[in-house]
Symmetry: C2
């Protein structure tokens, strides 16, 4: 029940923070380390199928979902890299820069809300955002987008195969297919996973030391669960935290931490100022630069900033190195994928 | 010997054009129809190997070869589409537009020169162009590019595997690996190929009619050979034609055909004004819009323009439709490919 309501949950976490800060000693939690499941939660109204995943993969890689024909989902959420673009903020059509750093698409199916500010409850809702965002993929609206998809002959067959009939070329089904593909993007069997499953040699002694420090100082308060992004919550619930929780450090200015109001822009609630969805730490070494604004280039510095702004800790060099070593153990196995063949036009271009 | 020298060859073709125009009847050539080989010519100094192809594929898809980390070779030469971007001209870093339409990378290994103006003799030389082009991938120079590749740990192992030692991370080997990958991009077994190999049902009656018209009116003067881009010439020779050969039609202005001087910009020779490398017609229905400037959106119109500007023919509606039907028979089989895993950084970004 505590996590049944976002407000209740958030208040509970605020209470917890206050408690932690007031006693200034952090209890060692009995952390329940979990390995990553090989399958993601699947919503009842969008069951997985090979045909849907095939369609979704084509859509995910198709730059014709952008007005200029230059930006696909994969442009910013590059599955051949760590699931994003290794840039501070992404670049959309006509060289325009977004305001926040692209989160990784790998294991995003384990998040209970989507976007940095949690404004989408599901991957299906998330997938509908960037396409019509004027600085991302820049399509005028979804009517125009679906008209374009309908003008590409091969898509009709892919939709029919995935959803059963020719009338199935809708924005909802487009989003469902993309979400279905994204739910296959899971990286199991990281050294950490093998370690918690019993292979005690999967992590080095330094990594194990880092793992203990990670828990002891309180990183696991937020970065819990199999995905290190919060407990198993019903889809749409969200697991949020204020960042910086402890404002006033030199990092605030150095990394512009107070500029973006985060979830407040969604809810307009004072309590949501600088509140963010807790991101996954899986494959974190592959997804530099860090934080919602990509302002911190190195993981080492990101660990220092987190310890200071969230836990009021100034870590020793050794503690930082140990935690970074542990985080390197969160890089999983990326399943081999075939490239989609994008349905071709026949002798005409859909791009003006 | 006729084709041994570019000038000689070009003069010969000019002579041929003059002859054709003066008699105003076009002889029916005894066209030697050729199917596409399953392997491309391989240069003696860059033999194929699995390791080289693996490295080349990673490089081809890696957007970190651009200054902003947003543009890879595949951005403009999209192998999941028809090998290019279906745009009039491509978009490089910061939304900048190039001056010419991206040629397809599929079957580019069969061209004896690269780029629209033939300024690169080989795929190896071609691959070195876009990376440091300020409006394409925008790297400052190749020293900076190689420094960046060296800073990505996984590339050292891929180069070592491909070229034998750690000192092998050079611009020359980078280009060799990309070229090796590109030499695997071949689309055999088009309906046309199956037809000329004896399967008389592979093309429809209309397509066969179009094929005959295509030869009869003289398209095969230039679009000959297995790749419809010229005869089998030694790499670097080049097979060029003036476009428009017959200037003065309304198309010149409508499609801005006289603006770009083509090969003249490379050689500064008057005879090379508006001279272009003859492009392949393979997979042509997938690569709209058409011509060096991408000014013609539909293949139907492109056929009309070609007939008028190159052969001084005003084709009937039926002839155009027949030729287009034939050209649709040039779409081959695209080999299934796995996605490359791009070597990851460890906790730091190489993009500023």
């Amino acid at each position: 029940m505590i996590f049944g309501s976002l407000n209740l949950r958030f208040k509970t976490m605020k209470l917890l923070q206050g408690l932690l800060l007031s006693v200034m000693t952090v209890p060692v939690y009995a952390v329940q380390w979990q390995s990553l499941p090989e399958t993601a939660p699947i919503p009842a109204d969008n069951l997985q199928s090979d045909a849907k995943i095939t369609l979704g993969k084509a859509l995910f890689f198709d730059p014709r979902l952008s007005s200029t024909g230059t930006i696909s989902c994969n442009s910013c959420h590059n599955v051949m890299l760590g699931g994003e673009d290794n840039r501070p903020v992404s670049v959309g059509i006509e060289g325009q820069k977004g305001g926040r750093s692209a989160p990784t698409v790998w294991n995003s199916a384990f998040l209970s809300v989507q976007f940095w500010d949690g404004r989408a409850a599901t991957l299906e809702v998330q997938a509908q955002g960037p396409v019509t965002n004027p600085i991302e993929m820049g399509m005028k609206d979804w009517d125009v987008t679906m008209q374009r998809l309908k003008s590409i002959p091969g898509y009709a067959a892919l939709f029919q195969s995935a959803f059963g009939d020719k009338m199935s070329m809708t924005v909802e089904n487009t989003a469902k297919a993309i979400a279905s593909y994204e739910r296959t993007l899971i990286t199991p069997n990281a050294p950490y996973d093998r370690y918690v499953q019993g292979d005690k040699k999967a992590l080095s002694p330094q990594q194990v030391k880092g793992m203990k420090t990670f828990a002891k100082i309180g990183c696991t308060t937020c970065h819990v669960g199999a995905n290190f992004s919060g407990p198993n919550l019903p889809i749409g619930t969200g697991w949020f935290m204020k960042f910086p929780t402890i404002a006033g450090s030199t990092y605030d200015k150095k990394y512009r931490l107070m500029e973006d109001l985060g979830r407040y822009d969604v809810t307009q609630k004072i309590a949501d100022k600088h509140v963010w969805r807790v991101p996954t730490l899986r494959n974190i070494v592959l997804t530099a630069p860090y934080f919602h604004n990509g302002a911190v280039n190195s993981l080492t510095e990101a660990v220092r900033v987190m310890a200071k702004t969230q836990l009021n800790k100034a870590l020793s060099h050794e503690e930082v190195e140990d935690i970074v070593a542990f985080l390197k153990g969160l890089t999983g196995e990326f399943p081999e994928q075939t490239m989609p063949r994008l349905p071709g036009m026949t002798g005409i271009s859909v791009i003006d």
